[in-house]
C-alpha cells in the first residue's frame, strides 16, 4: 500500500494538484509503452494492478492495449512483470457469478478484447509452460478465468497455438501442489466438449499423468486433487470413442477396480474380499472420489467395441453388480452402479452369479455387519427391489429418496435382464406347478410378495413389496403371449400366514364369514388371487374412515394391481375370461362410477381395464361382449372415455419419465415425527407408476377409447376400418404361426437327434465309399499290372519261341518246356 501511495504521489502533476483516476490511469498507460525503461513499465503495471479492482472500466478503456503489449514483450523476460500483468488482466476479465450484471458484462467485454488477438492467447499458453512458479501459476489462473468466460474461443486458440499441447501437459507433472491443482482445474475446463483437445492430450500422455496423480494422492482416500484428476479422466473419455479405445488398450483400467478395492483378476467363482465389500464411507470426499471411479468404469464397460465378452468388460460389470447388490457403498453409488450396467445384460449371467449380500447389525452405527447366505445375483436383485436396501433395516418405515432410487434402478436392471423371451419364460415357468403335479411349485419371493394379502392398517412399508412385485411381474408378461399363457397356470401354494388374515372391510359391520375350510384349502390361481386382492383394496379405499395417508397407500396398491392386470389381459382373451369370471365387472364399475372425486388415477385405470376386458373378451364364456356392452352404455361411453384420458392429467402419472420413477412425497402428508423427536428433514419419496406402464398406456389408450364405443358383435375396436381388422387378423396369423413354430421347434428337436444319426451314417457312408473307391482303384491297379504282366509274358513267350527257333536253326540243343508243348501241337 505504501508503494501505491508513493506512486500516486509520483504521478501527481507538477502542481501537486490531485488528479482524477482517469488521468492517473492514462498516465500509467502511457508508461506501458515499449519506449520506457522496463523498470518503469513494471511500476506502471503494478500501479494499474492496484487500481484494477476499483477502476475496471477506465483501465480497460485506456490501458488494456498497453497491458497486452507488456504481456507480449516483457512477460517471458521478466517474471515479476509477467505475473503482475497476468494478475491485472485477471481482475479486468473476472465475471463472477455473484457480481452485478454490469460488472459481469465488463468482464466479458475485456475477455473478448484480449481474446480477439490469438497472439495474446498463444502467449498465455506459452507462459503456462514457463518454469517460474509465479508466472506459471498466474498464467493458469488467468487461463481459468478466460476459459470460464469464453471457453470455445480459448479452445480454438489452443488448437492453433504454436506452443502446442506438449509443453502444456507438463503442468500435470508439476510437483508443486498449488500449480498442479490449478492445472487440473484448467485442464478440466479446456477439454470440455472438444474431442480434438481430448484426443491430443491423451496422445500426450494425459491419462497416465492423471492416474499418477490419483495414485500419488492416496487413491479414493485422497483429497480434492484426486477428485479433480478423476473428473479430468471422465471428461477425456465420456464422449470420446477414440480415447475410450486408447484407455481400454492401456494397462490402466484394472487400476480403476483396484482403486475401489476390487481385485482386477478376481476368479469368477471367488467372492470379492471384504475390504472391497465393507468400507468406511463417512468421508464425503471419499464418496465423491468413488462415485467418479464408478462412473469411469461405467463408460469403459459400455465401450466394449468388438470385445463385449472380454475379461475386462466382465470384471467391470461384475464389479458394478457387486457394488449394487453386495456392498456397503453409499446408496447413491449403488444406484449409479446399477444404472451403469449395460442394457444388454446377456453378457452377465445374473442368474448364475453368486453374491454374498451384507446387512448391518442393528444399532452398531454401520460398524458391524453380518453377511447373508450366498444368493444368486437375480435373487439378490429381486430382494432389493421388493424389500429395499438391507431389507429396510436402516430405513425402517421411512422411504428415503435415495433408497427408492436404488430400488427403481434395480427394477431397471431386472427389466433389462428379462428382455429375452427365454429368460422371462423360464422365470415364469419356475412358478408353474410341474405337469406331474405331485407337489406345487415353490412360491418364489416375487410371487410371495405379489400375492401377499394386504395388511391392515396398510402402511407404506407393507405396500411397497406388492406394488413393486406387480411391476416386476408385468415386466415378465408384457408383450409375451407365452409368458402370459404360463402365468395363467400359476397356482401358488396357499401361504400359511395368509390364510384367514385377509382383511375384510365391512364398514364396521361384522367381518364376512370365513371361506369354507375346504374352499380355503383349494389352491387358487394367481389371477384369481390378484382379483380378490384387487376387490379388497377397492373396498378398503371406498371406506369413509380410512385416514388420508393410509388411503393413499391403498391407492398405490391398487395402481400395482391395475397396471399389472391391464398389461396382462391385453391381447389375452384367456386371462380376460378368468378375470371376468372372478367378478371383474362389478368391482371395476364401482370406482368408475364414483362421483365428485379429485382423484383421477384409480377411476381412470379401472375404466381402462374395463375397456381391455371388453375389447379382448373374445373367448366363449358366461360373460360375453354383449353382456358387458349395456353396462358400458349405462355408465356412459363419453364418461368412460373421459375417465381414461384423464389419467394423463394425473400429476403422479405425468411426472414419470424414462429415468424418472421416484417422486417426492408431498410434504403436507409427511408423517409427523413422534412427539419429542427432533423434526427430521424429510426427503421421503414414493413410486406410483413405472415408465414401462406409462409407455404401454400411452401407446394403447386410444385403442381402448375406440374399443368401448364399438358394437359388441364387431371384430375389434375399429371394425369397419380395414387396417384394424387387418391387424387383428394378422395378429391371429402371427399367433398361429407362433404356435406352429413352437410345434415345429419341438419337432426339430426330436428330428435333430435323428439328424445327428443320419450325419454319422453319412460320415460312415462317405468313409466307406472312399475306402471302396480306394479298394477299387487298387484292384484296378492290380488288374492293370496283371494285364501288363500278361502282355509282357506274352511278348517274352513270342521272343523265346523266336529265339528257340533261331537256336534250333543254328543247331543248338534247345530244351523243350511245357509252353512249347502247345506250340508243338500246333506244329
Amino acid at each position: 500500500m505504501e508503494f501505491l501511495s508513493q506512486t500516486y504521489i509520483a504521478l501527481r502533476g507538477p502542481t501537486g494538484a490531485p488528479q482524477s483516476p482517469a488521468d492517473t490511469i492514462s498516465r500509467l498507460a502511457d508508461r506501458l509503452s515499449p519506449s520506457t525503461l522496463i523498470a518503469d513499465r513494471r511500476a506502471a503495471v503494478l500501479s494499474l494492478k492496484g487500481l484494477a479492482r476499483d477502476h475496471k472500466a477506465d483501465i480497460g478503456e485506456r490501458a488494456l492495449p498497453g497491458l497486452l503489449d507488456v504481456l507480449q514483450n516483457d512477460a517471458e523476460i521478466d517474471a515479476d512483470i509477467g505475473k503482475a500483468v497476468l494478475e491485472t488482466l485477471n481482475v479486468l476479465c473476472e465475471a463472477e457469478d455473484g457480481a452485478s450484471a454490469a460488472a459481469r458484462e465488463l468482464g466479458f467485454k475485456h475477455t473478448d478484447q484480449v481474446l480477439a488477438d490469438e497472439k495474446a492467447a498463444h502467449k498465455i499458453f506459452a507462459l503456462v509452460g514457463e518454469q517460474s512458479f509465479y508466472l506459471r501459476f498466474a498464467a493458469l489462473q488467468y487461463l481459468a478465468t478466460v476459459l470460464q468466460n469464453r471457453r470455445q474461443v480459448v479452445q480454438g486458440h489452443f488448437l492453433k497455438a504454436p506452443a502446442g499441447p506438449t509443453s502444456f501437459i507438463v503442468i500435470l507433472d508439476d510437483k508443486r501442489e498449488i500449480i498442479r491443482n490449478e492445472g487440473l482445474y484448467v485442464v478440466k475446463s479446456l477439454i470440455s466438449q472438444s474431442p480434438e483437445i481430448q484426443k491430443i492430450l491423451a496422445f500426450e500422455g494425459a491419462f497416465e499423468k492423471l492416474f499418477n496423480i490419483v495414485l500419488g494422492e492416496g487413491g479414493i482416500d485422497g483429497g480434492l486433487a484426486v477428485q479433480e484428476a478423476l473428473a479430468c479422466v471422465d471428461g477425456l473419455l465420456r464422449f470420446n470413442q477414440s480415447n475410450q479405445s486408447y484407455l481400454r488398450a492401456s494397462s490402466l483400467p484394472p487400476l480403476l477396480l483396484s482403486l475401489l478395492g476390487y481385485p482386477p483378476d478376481l476368479p469368477h467363482d471367488a467372492a470379492p474380499p471384504q475390504q472391497f465389500a465393507l468400507q468406511l464411507w463417512d468421508d464425503k470426499q471419499k464418496r465423491a472420489n468413488a462415485a467418479l471411479v464408478v462412473s469411469i468404469i461405467g463408460i469403459l464397460a459400455k465401450s466394449t467395441g468388438p470385445n463385449a465378452h472380454d475379461a475386462l468388460t466382465f470384471a467391470f460389470n461384475r464389479c458394478l453388480v457387486e457394488i449394487g447388490l453386495a456392498s456397503n457403498m453409499p446408496t447413491t453409488i449403488k444406484t449409479q452402479a446399477l444404472r451403469l450396467l449395460p442394457t444388454n445384460l446377456s453378457i452377465l449371467p445374473l442368474a448364475h452369479m453368486v453374491l454374498t449380500p451384507y446387512i448391518p447389525v442393528p444399532d452398531t452405527n454401520g460398524e458391524e455387519w453380518d453377511w447373508l447366505e450366498p444368493a444368486s445375483g437375480l435373487d439378490a436383485l429381486v430382494e432389493l427391489v421388493l424389500h429395499g436396501e438391507y431389507n429396510g433395516i436402516l430405513e425402517g418405515e421411512r422411504r428415503t429418496k435415495d433408497g427408492m432410487e436404488l430400488r427403481a434402478a434395480a427394477m431397471g436392471v431386472f427389466q433389462n435382464f428379462v428382455q429375452k423371451d427365454e429368460i422371462r419364460e423360464a422365470i415364469v415357468q419356475a412358478m408353474v406347478p410341474p405337469a406331474d403335479a405331485s407337489e406345487p411349485a415353490p412360491v418364489t419371493p416375487l410371487l410371495y410378495a405379489l400375492t401377499a394379502p394386504p395388511a391392515q392398517p396398510l402402511t407404506s412399508a407393507a405396500v411397497a413389496p406388492t406394488h413393486l412385485a406387480a411391476f416386476l411381474f408385468a415386466h415378465l408378461l408384457r408383450g409375451s403371449p407365452r409368458a402370459k399363457a404360463l402365468a395363467l397356470s400359476i397356482v401358488p401354494r396357499p401361504s400359511s400366514q395368509g390364510a384367514g388374515s385377509f382383511f375384510v372391510p365391512a364398514d364396521g359391520a361384522p367381518a364376512a364369514p370365513e371361506p369354507e375350510a375346504e374352499e380355503a384349502d383349494e389352491p387358487q390361481s394367481l389371477l384369481s388371487i390378484l382379483s380378490e386382492h384387487l376387490s379388497l383394496a377397492l373396498l378398503a379405499r371406498a371406506r369413509a374412515d380410512t385416514p388420508e395417508r393410509e388411503a393413499r397407500e391403498w391407492d398405490r396398491l391398487l395402481v400395482g394391481y391395475l397396471t399389472l392386470l391391464a398389461q396382462w389381459l391385453w391381447e389375452d382373451p384367456g386371462a380376460v375370461r378368468g378375470f371376468l369370471e372372478a367378478g371383474a365387472i362389478s368391482m371395476l364399475v364401482e370406482p368408475i362410477n364414483q362421483t365428485a372425486d379429485t382423484d383421477v388415477a384409480i377411476p381412470g385405470l379401472c375404466a381402462f381395464l374395463l375397456g381391455v376386458c371388453y375389447e379382448f373378451n373374445r373367448e366363449p364364456g358366461e360373460i360375453t361382449r354383449s353382456t358387458i356392452y349395456p353396462i358400458l352404455t349405462r355408465l356412459g361411453l363419453d364418461m368412460l372415455a373421459g375417465r381414461i384420458t384423464h389419467l394423463r392429467d394425473d400429476d403422479r402419472f405425468k411426472a414419470v419419465g424414462p429415468d424418472t420413477v421416484v417422486l417426492p412425497y408431498p410434504g403436507v402428508l409427511a408423517p409427523h415425527p413422534a412427539a419429542g423427536a427432533p423434526k427430521q428433514e424429510t426427503d421421503e419419496a414414493e413410486v406410483w407408476f413405472d415408465w414401462a406402464f406409462v409407455d404401454f398406456w400411452k401407446s394403447n389408450y386410444h385403442t381402448i377409447e375406440k374399443a368401448i364405443a364399438t358394437d359388441p358383435n364387431s371384430l375389434s375396436a375399429s371394425a369397419g376400418q380395414d387396417t384394424a381388422m387387418m391387424v387383428a387378423s394378422l395378429r391371429d396369423v402371427i399367433r398361429n404361426q407362433a404356435s406352429e413354430i413352437e410345434a415345429l421347434q419341438a419337432q426339430l428337436k426330436s428330428l435333430s437327434a435323428t439328424a445327428q444319426e443320419r450325419e454319422t451314417l453319412h460320415e460312415q457312408i462317405a468313409s466307406l465309399s472312399t475306402e471302396l473307391q480306394e479298394a477299387q482303384e487298387k484292384s484296378r491297379e492290380v488288374e492293370k499290372e496283371q494285364e501288363d504282366l500278361l502282355v509282357l509274358l506274352d511278348e517274352l513267350n513270342v521272343k523265346r519261341r523266336r529265339d528257340k527257333a533261331r537256336m534250333r536253326e543254328a543247331g543248338l540243343d534247345v530244351s523243350e518246356d511245357e509252353g512249347d508243348e502247345g506250340d508243338e501241337d500246333e506244329e
Binding site: 492453433k160 502446442g164 506438449t166 507438463v170 484426443k199 496422445f203 500422455g205 488398450a249 492401456s250 487400476l255
Partner: protein
Amino acid sequence: MAGVAWHYVLKFIITGDAAVGKSSLLVRLTDQRFLSNPDPTLGVEFGSKLITIPEESKVVKLQCWDTAGTESFRSITRSYYRGAAGCLLVYDVTSRQSFLNARTWLADVRAHADPNLTCILVGNKIDLCAEDGQPGRRPREVPADEADRWAKEEGLLFVEASAKSGENVEAAFVQATRDILDKIKRGMFDNDRSPGVKLSRPSNNTLTLEDDSTRTRCC
C-alpha cells in the same frame, strides 16, 4: 487382463489424403475387419495392437493414431508428428493425386517430426487393380516402381497393401517396427527421451504405472 507383457510401446501416426483408407487400415490391423462404408464421423481414430518381432523376440505394443480431422488445426497435427516413433504415409494406388499429395504430407512430417522417425509409404487399395477383373475394379494410376523409386529417394520404406483383402497391412506395421527397433539397437534413440518410444518391463502384471513422466519437453 490388460497386464500383458510387452517390451516397447511405439506410437504410430497415419497420415495421407482423405479417403485413401487410413481408417480402414487401422481397423484391419486391430480388428481384422474391413468396412466397405466406414462412417467418417464415427472416429476410428485410435487402435492398438500387440505384435511380435520373432528375430528380436520382442513384443511391441503399437499405439496407432489416425490424425484425421486435425487438418484444420495445424499445430495439433504437428504435435502428433512430434510425438510419434513411426508414420504410415498412405496414398491410394488408383489415385495419382493422392500420391502427388503425399509429397506435401511428407514435407509436413519432415518439418515437425523427430528426425529419427521411421516413415513407411503405403500404397493402399491394390485389390482394386488385381488381375482377376472383379467388378468395381479401377485402373492403377501409380506404378509400383515409381512409388518405390520415390520412397528410396526420400529414405522411406515402401509397401503396397490392401485394407480390404488385408494383404500387407500387418506387414507394413511390422516392417516399420523392425526399422524402429533397429534404430533403438543402434542407439539412435536415447530410450527415455525419444518421442513415441516407451520401454516397459516385460510380464508386468502389477498395477504400478509405467512412468511416463521422464519424458521432458523437446523442441
